[in-house]
């Protein structure tokens, strides 16, 4: 198996497969990168500088966590609460790493680069491919394409947001709510997910009136723990990290 994979890694893809993988990778890259505009604009609207917003896209490079970080800061939460929320949301990237390292066989700095590019989109395109080599090309090309466009559009959005002035006047606070619900939407496919979301709403509404900003979101994480650990008769339910992909 290992030998076969090494062989296929050296072997090049046929032209048709290569074209199809590249087309997938770069269309996902452009589509995802474009909403870097909304992240950049929300970043400065939340009180980050243009360069702090850009640093998040360059160095954190995982949309959900970035939106969460600026969301908590914008709501007046502490740096610690923002860090904790962003990190909890980023745990899924660790699970993606487990999956993609099965077909990526990079070492050293290339492995570190691959880790940095491990996000929803690169993982989804990578594991959707028919062969090991196609998976490698799909992962890398998608990761690089999203990285380029995401950072470019974050910069554009941050300058745009700076020029707009009062963020409420342009509905940027509602844009943040819309961004979170759009990130949530594709994950609400199972009964477990719906139960988790319902419990998270209750926890947030109960805690928000008296807890400092940023804390309600962390308390709501308990909804996932409660539903996930809930004993069930036939404990063969899914919950693979792969079920979790497909969202930006």
């Amino acid at each position: 198996m290992q030998h076969e994979e090494d062989e296929s890694r050296r072997g090049e893809l046929d032209a048709a497969t290569r074209t199809s993988v590249l087309r997938q990778a770069w269309s996902v890259g452009i589509a995802t990168g474009a909403y870097g505009i909304s992240f950049g604009a929300l970043g400065v609207a939340s009180g980050l500088s243009v360069w702090q917003s850009c640093a998040l896209s360059l160095l954190m490079f995982t949309g959900g966590s970035q939106f969460a970080f600026v969301g908590v800061i914008g709501a007046g939460g502490t740096g610690v609460a923002a860090i904790a929320t962003a990190t909890l949301l980023g745990i899924r990237n660790g699970l993606y790493g487990l999956q993609v390292s099965e077909f990526l066989h990079d070492r050293g700095w290339q492995r570190a680069m691959a880790a940095h590019l491990t996000i929803d989109e690169s993982t989804a395109v990578g594991i959707a491919q028919p062969s090991v080599r196609a998976s490698q090309v799909g992962f890398w090309q998608t990761g690089i394409a999203v990285f380029l466009f995401w950072n470019l559009f974050t910069l554009v959005g941050a300058f745009l947001g700076n020029a707009l002035g009062d963020p409420r006047r342009w509905g940027l606070d509602a844009a943040a709510a819309a961004a979170f619900v759009a990130l949530l939407w594709p994950r609400l496919h199972s009964r477990d997910a719906a139960a988790t979301a319902a419990a998270a709403v209750v926890l947030t509404v109960v805690v928000a009136p008296w807890a400092p900003a940023g804390i309600p979101v962390l308390v709501a994480a308990l909804a996932a723990v409660a539903v996930g650990l809930w004993p069930r008769p036939k404990d063969a339910a899914p919950g693979r990290p792969a079920d979790d992909r497909g969202a930006p």
Partner: protein, 104 residues
């Protein structure tokens, strides 16, 4: 803690989380229940962020304003299978429109 320090610390933790996935043997996370919890974590956090971002009042607590209508419009856009960027723009435009008409 300065904002820059928080930004850089969060970035470092995000990278280390990704890196851990590439190095930790997958057997460490095999437990079904643990997997379920980690798969549901984004659902809980994102749901809570939707609530906070929609109803959060500037002085703490919860309030209802134009953001709720913006969120409703965003959900309609999602039901119509609109792409992410369109959903975000619709949410913002509806809230901005209501405010231009004078409804907070």
């Amino acid at each position: 803690m300065t904002l820059w320090l928080a930004v850089l610390a969060a970035c470092a933790l995000a990278f280390l989380t990704k890196l851990a996935g590439h190095y930790v043997p997958s057997s460490r996370l095999e437990g079904r229940r643990m997997r379920r919890v980690t798969a549901l974590l984004p659902v809980a956090l994102l749901t809570s962020l939707v609530v906070v971002q929609t109803f959060g009042a500037s002085g703490g607590g919860l309030t209802v304003d134009a953001r709720l209508v913006g969120l409703g419009a965003a959900v309609l856009a999602l039901l119509a299978r609109a792409p992410f960027i369109v959903v975000v723009i619709i949410g913002a435009a509806v809230a901005a429109g209501l405010r231009a008409l004078g409804w907070n």
